[in-house]
């Protein structure tokens, strides 16, 4: 019930294309869903996050879509660029979970020029 399942494991997209990464969760106590971007040898960087009271949040080229009834959320990267090539992690946390972020398994994105 604590798991967050992420897919795909890897993704290759052409420059200018749309990258889509999906996540699913079971625990309905989760109330905050961040996405992190991680480059090799670096720590994860908070990219964008959403709470379950909204269905979509957009920041620049990055959009989170949230489906509370299906317990699914996804990250869309519009106009993908080679500099977006990184590993992306979805995560979830609940107010009463004691600060424990639960991460998905990660998606390695490669944007080809």
């Amino acid at each position: 019930q604590q798991q967050v399942k992420q897919s795909p494991q890897s993704l290759i997209v052409q420059k200018g294309g749309i990258s889509i990464i999906n996540c699913a969760y079971e625990n309905t106590a989760f109330d905050y869903f961040p996405w992190y971007q991680q480059f090799p040898g670096k720590g994860p960087a908070l990219l964008i996050a959403i709470r379950p009271d909204v269905s979509e949040k957009k920041e620049g080229r990055f959009t989170i879509s949230f489906n509370k009834s299906a317990k699914q959320f996804s990250l869309h990267i519009m106009d993908s660029q080679p500099g977006d090539s990184a590993t992306y992690f979805c995560a979830a946390i609940g107010y009463n979970q004691g600060g424990k972020l639960i991460f998905g398994q990660g998606t390695e994105l490669s944007v080809k020029p």
Partner: protein, 112 residues
Amino acid sequence: DAGVTQSPTHLIKTRGQQVTLRCSPKSGHDTVSWYQQALGQGPQFIFQYYEEEERQRGNFPDRFSGHQFPNYSSELNVNALLLGDSALYLCASSLLHAGEQFFGPGTRLTVL
């Protein structure tokens, strides 16, 4: 603002040794969480500290212990190192009950 800082950057130890990793949180943050990230995996929660107390613990053995100081900085200690402890150790800082956690660059621990 320097963000979350961690030291050292890299560390090589042998089995059975002990190691201490250090973290300074973002200015204004009072809560520090530690995560272990094995190669090719997502970070796994070790524990969280607030007001110098361990607030919650993940599924890690007692060989993993920590401390938080009055200035909110924190240490992670691992005793009796095993080969499987080789990983990137990440520190994240936040405000208590805030969902946003900001990660440091990590300490790469290699156990030989």
